[in-house]
Structure formats: C-alpha cells, structure tokens
Amino acid sequence: MENYIFDVNNIDYDDTPTWNLICEGRTKGVFQLESSLGKSWAKRVRPKNLEELAALTALLRPGCLKAIVDGKSMTQHYVDRKSGEEEVTYIHESLEPILERTQGVLVYQEQSMKIAQKIAGFDLQQADDLRKAIGKKKADLMGKIKREFIKGAENENVVSREAAEEIFSWIEKSSRYAFNKSHAVSYAICGYWSAYAKAHHTIEFYCHCLRHAKNKPDSQREVKELVSDAKTNDIFILPPSLEALNEETCIINDRIHFGLTDIKSVGVNQIQKLKEKLTLEEESLGKKIVDWDWYEFLVRLSDKISSATVIAMISVGVFSAKKVSRNKMLDEFDTWLKLTDKERLWIYDRHEEWQNLKESLVALRPTKKMGGGTFNHKRSEIVKDLIKQIRNPACSLEDTPDWVAGIERNYLGVPITYSTVDSCDTSSANTTCKDFIKGKGKDVALAVSISSVRPYTLKKGKNKGRDMAFLSVEDQTSPLEDVAIFADEWEEYRNLLYEGNTVVIYGGESKRGKYKSDRSLVIERVWQI
C-alpha cells in the first residue's frame, strides 16, 4: 500500500459505481456522509452530480434540518421537490435562475448574495456584507443592510417594495441554515473522491480508514463500524501479520491486517525490541519466523519482550497459523514463565532436541546431578507439577468462537475471526442481514448480535406515552441499522433486547415511509440463542 497512488486529478465525476454507492447510502468512511444521518439522507436525496452532492452536504447541516417551514425541514422540502412530491415554487419568478438548481430552496449564502445583486442592485462589497451579516448573525448589521436592500429594490424596480420586504425577510430567516457554497462544493468534491476510492479501491480505502480510526473521538466504535462495513463488501480484516510484524494497519497480499500497535497493551518499543531480537534468532535458527512452530517462538522469543505483549499477540491470533489453540499457547506461555531464568536458558540451549514444551520439561525435571536442568529437588517437584498440568489440564484449552470474539474485542476493539453469533445455535434463523438488505423481506428470522438499542417514547397516536425502540444489529455477514420494534412487542421482549445480546429476531420488512430507502425490519418476536 505504501506505493499506492490515487490521482484525484484524473477522476471521472460521472462514475456510475461511485454515484450508486452514494445513492444507496453505503457511505461509511465517505467524507461528510459517513454518519447515520449522512447515509439516510444520501439515500433520500440520491445525488447524481456534484451540484446535488454539494446541496446534500449543505442540507445535512443542523440548521437546515431544524429549520421548519410549513411543517417540514428545509432538507425535507428539497427532497420532496426533487422527487416530484412537492411543487417547486419561487417567492418571485425573478429568483428562478438563482434557485432552480436547488429546487427553489435557498441553500447557500451565495444565493442570497446573488438575489441581493439582482433585486436590490447590490455591488459585490454590499453583497459580501450581506453574506457576513447572515453568516455571523449580526442583528445591527442586518438592520442596516435591510434598509439598503429595500432602497435598492425600489431603485432597481425588479420587484415591488412589498415583495422586496418579503424576499429580505426570507433571506433573513435563511440565516439559520444557509451554508457557504464554496465550502459545500469543496466538501462535495472531497466526499466524491472518498466515495470513488471506496467504490474502486475498496481494500485500500478500508485500510486507510482503519489507520486513521484511532484519531476519531470514539476510535473503538469507529473501528467496529469500519470492520462491520467492510464485511458487507466481503472484506475481512485479519490480525497483524507475523511475517511483516507491521506496526500499522496494512495490506499484505491483498488482505488487510491490523497493525501491532492496534492491539491494546502492545507498544512501539516492544515491537522494535521484538524485531531486533527476531533478526538475531532467525539467523541463529536459519529460518524465517513464519516457518517457526509455536514451541520455537515460545523458547526463543517469548521472554525477550514483555509478557503483556506476548499475551496480547497470542490473544488476537498473531500465531494462529501455528495450528495450536490460543488457549493452549496462553497456558504454555504461563507455564514457561513459571520456570526460572536458568531453567529457561537450559531449555533454550537444547530446545532442538525436543518437539514441544512438555518434552522439554520432562528433560528439564531431573536435578543437575541427575542429568536434568533443575537446581534442586524443590524445583524438580515444581516442574513435575507443571508437567502434570500440561498432561492433564484442569480446563479445556480449546478455543471457542465466543471466547475468541470476546478476547479479540478486548484487545482490538472488535471481533475479527468470529462474530459473536457464530457460537450460538442459529438453526432457527432463515436469512442473514445481508440477504435482508438485498431484498428478502417477508417472514425473516435473523440470528443477530445487538449493536445498539435506542428507546423512543411515542408522542402521538393510540400508543402515546408508551415506549418503542430502534435497534442496530449485526451478524457475520453485515450490520443492519434499520430495525424497529413497536410498543407491544417492546414491552414483551425488552428484557432480551440489550446491547451485546445474541438473539433471533423474527419479523418482516416495513415500507411505511414514502421513500424506498425507508425500508426497515419490524420485529414481531424475539428469542434468545
């Protein structure tokens, strides 16, 4: 990936896959459109060119969403007009050339400037003063400009004085939401670039997003969302590579690997130390680390770096290719640490004589007088106990999906090898989140892990005052964000619907909203798995 060049100067701005990605709301990681709000409005606005994308970035701002006119937000007005559900009207016909590209909605401060130029004959300086007054919401300046505006309108005589007052009042109100067009266009271009990268250079896109996730305010959530989103593109993130010992997230053989520094408890100093020691040990052993077995790593390297680092690396699966369960490796590492430095050195010097830790402990156990490696009888007895515990472990050392998912979540912030659903009985499920998203909608039963629950108190209707909830769920195939459970069902199943629980949700799609994108899954029944 280091040599990867993405030339934004030669980009096709009519690229169908890119616009499809935006219109379908698959915009996790896309600049300005990655929030739930961005995804949701992208699906409604369905921009097909930069002009519309710029309008979307402006319409997404809180001012527009909160500016209610005739019972609807300005954003909603724009969407309804664009989709033909609401007639495009202008406060005065002379404004049509200025506002037609934004469906008659005053979206940008620059539109106000043009209106002032056209209606009141403002020069560029006056128009800029108007923009500043709008942007900074300066009441005294607005009052002064209003007087100039009305006077100018009388002189220009494009509209009547009453119409001029109405237009100015309209501009004044737009100060709550109008956005700077130059910003909106810049945002749109950057957003398009990132969407283009996602559509055409998907692996590189996710790799970069994951690298920079740690700079986000809630980095753990960001990583989790990116990994889930990557799944929808059949991209599965792997643990750090033992071969590369990569510090940062990177691409190796077209697969994304987390970096070692992405693992909790692993620091740069430890990685440097590991790399230095590794070079010496590889030379000494005459083979690369990828060809070592677990026993060789344990004996030659594990005590050269901090135990917390080794435990973390084992836990996230850095050594998974070694065909030994992570629990077994953790157990053997624990046993290894119970030996004294001299005992470890004794094994290190002779380790090629044996195949595994148990065999080496058996050889170590006799005292030095008896030809072994222990210092005295007491140490010999301790080693004897360690051998017993390897031969007859007190608990199973197999890895289970649930445990692996849990331990990876702890160290990486997100499970990557298994979904938490993998350890559950999913036989009663008949579809996956991905299939539901693709269109399967009736009588669906999905085995899911609950990512978030957002209770909502109904404010009107026959259930006024009662609670319902919106959920985000995920399975091994994809996250599913639009899930709803209504009041009766919520009351019955709320004790099962909490973050982290794994359940089967049964229900069907709902298209109650007026947009195709308003499709959601409505839960009718829930059961624990």
Binding site: N327, L330, D331, D334, K338, E381, I382, D385, L386, K388, Q389, P393, A394, C395, S396, L397, E398, T400, P401, D402, W403, G406, I407, R409, N410, S423, R494, N495, Y498, G500, N501, T502, Q528
Partner: protein, 228 residues
C-alpha cells in the same frame, strides 16, 4: 439489563471444616454467561490439590491436618492426593481460568463469584489463596480475582425464596438436593457440587429475572407507606 459480568460458580473440597485453616484438596468451577445464564463453552475447571499430608508439618505451618472423615466424605485417598499438583500451581491455573472471563481485564469487570455458602466458606479460602499466591491489589491488599462488589451465595438466594416454606427445614446443599429431587450421586465431589449449585442458581435467577420484568419497583415508596 442483565449483568454484563460472567459468573464463576466454584467450590472447594477440603481436609477440614475451618475455612481459615483448612487445606483444599480439590477445586472445581464452571463459568456461566452472565446475561444468558448458560455455561460458557469449555467453561469447566477441575483439579485436585495436593495438601500437606504430614500432620505435624501442616500444624507447623498454621494449617489444619487433613482429616480422615473429610477424605471419606469427598471419597479421596491420601495416595491420590499425593499425586496432585501443589496449591500454588493449581491456583495459578485457576486464576488464569477466572481471568479468561474478565473480558476487559480490569477489577470492575472481574467475574462474579458464586457458590454454595461461599460467604461462610469458599470465599474465605479463595481470599487466603489470593493473599498467598495472588492476585491482590498492591495498595489495598484485597483480592482482584473476583468481582469485589457482587457475589451470589446460592444458599442465600434460595433462603430468600424458601425461608417461609415449612417443608424446607435445612438449607444444606444435600437437604436441597432432596427437596428439589436432585440426585446425590457424586455429591461432595467439587465438580458435581458446582454443577448442582449452578443449576439451582440458574433456575432461581431466571425466575427472578422473569418476575422482575413484570414488577414496577420505580417510586415504590413514593406513596410514603414505609414498614418501619
């Protein structure tokens, strides 16, 4: 929301009755998923522990000798126990086992200890083991293996439901086995005891959760009707 903490139901078999001085001869545990109340996959731990079988040496170390009566109850022989690993080694592995279920590796997320009469017996031994072999908080000297706030003593849990039941006269695990119609085969083997204890705990906790979901406790005393 049900507990996010997992629960470790554990039990010691010991060579005598005083938890302050007794020597453990076996420890078994089962890890229970705190929310689902199901056994965690591969969630069992079971190991015998080698006590100091020389009575004089045990007394010298401030411990009770292993009593023959205790060995009869637990059906263990001195010869078998002699082959078991030492307490320090077993406790190390047990600590690793418990720590597996401390998902965030912080004391707050440490699993909740559970068992039968753990308040009066097993937790006292566990605390002794922690003091001797770790883990303990260096500042406070308190154990950090188990959750320090919550614990489930199944004897108390059952007492809460059955204390007014005239048919239940004693609250020993054996008496409850009789009352609940559970087999006594292998009773006083730590592994069997933790299985029975976990079964009782899960039944009562599920029942509590079911009822708790239907009862509205919020502002329960807002009407000012107090008992005392």
């Amino acid at each position: 929301m049900p507990s996010a903490h997992d629960i470790i139901v554990f039990d010691f078999e010991t060579g005598s009755r005083d938890p302050q001085k007794t020597q453990p001869t076996q420890i078994a545990a089962v890890a229970i998923h705190g929310r689902k109340l199901t056994v965690q996959p591969n969630g069992y731990f079971n190991s015998e522990i080698r006590p100091i079988l020389d009575d004089d040496k045990a007394i010298e170390m401030g411990l009770d000798p292993v009593e023959d009566e205790a060995l009869d109850i637990t059906r263990k022989t001195r010869a078998e126990l002699k082959k078991a690993p030492a307490p320090k080694q077993v406790w190390g592995k047990f600590s690793n086992f418990v720590n597996k279920y401390n998902w965030k590796k912080t004391p707050y997320f440490a699993p909740i200890p559970a068992g039968y009469n753990i308040n009066g017996f097993d937790l006292i031994i566990a605390d002794r083991m922690c003091q001797q072999y770790g883990p303990v908080d260096k500042k406070t000297g308190r154990q950090t293996l188990f959750n320090r706030i919550h614990r489930v003593d199944v004897m108390n849990l059952v007492w809460g439901w059955l204390e007014s039941n005239p048919d239940v006269k004693r609250f020993s695990l054996d008496s409850l086995r009789d009352y609940f119609g559970m087999s006594k085969e292998n009773a006083h083997d730590a592994l069997q005891d933790i299985k029975d204890t976990a079964n009782i705990m899960i039944r009562f906790m599920k029942m509590q959760r079911k009822f708790a979901g239907k009862v509205h406790f919020e502002k329960a005393f807002a009407d000012g009707k107090l008992y005392i």
